[in-house]
Amino acid sequence: MNLRGLNLTALLLTMAILPCPALQAGEYNAVIDIGEPMPQFSDLPATDGTTLSSSDLEEEVVILVFLANHCPWVKGMDPDLVELGESIQSDKVRIVGVSVNHREDDRLPAMKEHAAQAGYNFTYIYDESQELGRALGATRTPEYYIFDKDRRLVYMGLLHNSPASKRRDGTINYTEGQPTEFYVVDNVKALLAGEEVTVAETRAHGCSVEYEQD
């Protein structure tokens, strides 16, 4: 929590009264922390007409990326995501896109259209029950989760250090200019080389995932 500008009294009051607890798992995640196991999931429908279960994933490295068709930050990053798929063409790495929202333009029919339009070269599944999203504390799109061969979480956050959004005029704008740090690519390379990842967590940026509240 950023406490700049608050005095000591305010700090104490905040600590004593703040109804929402600070994030307790990851640095930027309320539910899961680095090192925890990948949540199991079963028969989630994919845009290609198949279904996918966590037990189907046999690759050495699994990347789950949370997406939302409607989101300008997803649209802005789509070309980079597709490029990621091309760059790590390997039977050792599997990318799985996950949509969680219940709004119509994020559901399966719209996902099929979006996947075709954006040229998605990976399995794109719909987590309608939102159980997978909740288990991963996935609250923004796009956000990447990388699991190692033991299916332990080794990274969560941004694809790279300059999130991009698609503007209404169709142009793509990188917030920090051309990306210079490629967290996902570098971490995958490290894992395949049998090394530790270099960065474990970054602050994902994008649209909020909307969870149905009881």
């Binding site: 309320a30 609250t139 503007r167 909020s208 909307e210």
Partner: protein
């Protein structure tokens, strides 16, 4: 009315997204047929005041002495657009009490289309409270505000302390409209 305005905004967004040659008027869009006369029943136009993060903190300090409700939003954030009318309703509900409502827009400061749309939206919503635009690179703004996502509502007590930080950061505890109202009631009762 609020739904109609929202639909109008969304239609406008889509129209811009698909590249209309002519910028449609929001009220024409709301009418749905694109031919309705523009009826200016109210000349009031919302302004969006750019503030750096440092200037934003000074604005908050200047508001000490009352409950301050800050709605953080952007035109790219659909849940923000959908919940904004509640902010306007609450501002009206608490108009006679010691509560100041403020909005802080987190659109890309360099994206003219978005800024223009944000102003039109605020005007259409009749958001007659201070409306600010964060004058920072948007990802840096999130970092400085220690925000993971929006919509988010920060509620400060009269002493300036951050008392409620309502966010969607926890999938199992995302805030609702009722949470905002309850928090204001509680702070007013305590002060």
């Amino acid at each position: 009315m609020k739904d109609q305005c929202l639909v109008g905004l969304l239609i406008l967004s889509v129209s811009i997204a698909v590249g209309c040659a002519r910028e449609p008027d929001t009220r024409q869009a709301a009418a749905g047929d694109g031919t309705a006369d523009i009826v200016e029943s109210d000349e009031w136009q919302a302004t969006l005041v750019p503030v750096t993060f440092e200037a934003w903190q000074e604005k908050l300090v200047a508001l000490h002495g009352q409950v301050v409700v800050v709605d953080m939003w952007a035109t790219w954030c659909l849940p923000c657009i959908e919940r904004f009318p509640q902010m306007v309703e609450l501002a009206q509900k608490y108009a006679d009490q010691d509560v100041e409502f403020v909005s802080l827009c987190l659109d890309d400061r360099d994206d003219e289309d978005s800024i223009a749309l944000a102003k039109r939206f605020l005007t259409e919503q009749r958001a007659r409270f201070p409306n600010f635009l964060m004058d920072e690179v948007v990802t840096q703004a999130f970092e400085k505000l220690d925000l993971l996502g929006i919509p988010a509502v920060f509620i400060y007590g009269p002493d300036g302390s951050l008392r409620y930080r309502l966010t969607g950061d926890d999938p199992n505890n995302q805030f609702t409209d009722a949470d905002v109202d309850d928090a204001i009631e509680e702070l007013l009762a305590a002060s």
